[in-house]
Amino acid sequence: MLIEAVNIVLLALLAVTAIAAVRLHDLFAVAMMFGIYSLLAAVMFVLLDAVDVAFTEAAVGVGISTVLMLATIGLVGRHELPSTHRSLLPLAVVIATGAALIYGTLDMPFFGDPGAPVHQHVAPFYIGESPNQTGLPNVVTSILASYRGYDTLGELAVIFTAGVGVLALLGLRRRKRPGKEKTAQ
């Protein structure tokens, strides 16, 4: 009963934060709203017993991405330009997509249903054999690093590519100050 109440309050706060982020025009406040949204999402993940995911969400969503958004706002200015186009067509598209997604959830198994396909495939094998095969108490780590090592290598390659992309586009070179050029060379 208590957990349902906490879930409802958290989901309501998520909705309020999202609507506030859309309606605000001060981008600094929007970045803060995104940070709060990520923090609430991290709390949701803790309630769903996904501690590793909550950890990532709290570190990346609340910390790093907020700082990066603030750094970008520092470059582009903190106020949104007034919008000139009508938003009726996008609204209709969003409502139609949302309705389709909600219709899709009707066929999904209930949360925590042990008969759900996701709990019937390889998951029982991993959970049963992980302590014997890898000797690790944290089954999340043994799946990510050992059973699904290829996936994690691919994810790391994605992060590597993102870093190389930023380096190629923006670079890390110091901008030369006027008057101080040539002295370093």
Binding site: D52, G63, V67, G74, Q133, N138, A145, F160, V166, L167
Partner: protein, 139 residues
């Protein structure tokens, strides 16, 4: 560079704790929540806080861009290299059992090294992205 003494002193106190916590998350990921990705992000967060409070110029001298560029590749190569070593040991790519006589010890070693590679690349990429964005604002 921010001339607020409270911020500067608090940052000096908590940055070592952030880095220590990141190392804990890195090497304790086998036993508790966490792992290379989370540890890398937390480690980078410590450096980014340093850059925010003391200026990107100080951060640049603490971690030179050349070192960052190198570390981005080192982490990924460490991960991929473990796979090559297991192949040289006569097993499949990334089959850690081949790393040691005892399969469980091999798994332990393989996962530890692989997670360390993840941590290195993730933290180097995060610091790089921060420096690339924030550093553009410097005069």
């Amino acid at each position: 560079m921010i001339d607020n003494p409270v911020l500067r002193i608090i940052a000096k106190i908590i940055i070592p704790m952030i880095l220590l916590f990141a190392l804990y998350v890195q090497f304790h990921g086998d036993f508790g929540p966490g792992g290379g990705f989370q540890a890398g992000v937390i480690f980078a967060a410590g450096f980014i806080l340093y850059g925010l409070v003391f200026g990107t110029e100080s951060l640049r001298s603490a971690v030179p861009p050349g070192v960052l560029r190198l570390l981005i590749a080192v982490g990924l190569l460490l991960f991929a290299g473990v796979g090559v070593i297991t192949m040289l040991a006569g097993s499949d790519y990334l089959a850690y059992n081949a790393l040691s006589e005892d399969p469980i010890a091999g798994q332990h070693l393989g996962i530890l090294v692989v997670e360390f590679g993840v941590g290195i690349t993730v933290s180097a990429v995060m610091i790089t992205i921060f420096l690339a964005f924030a550093g553009r604002n410097d005069p």
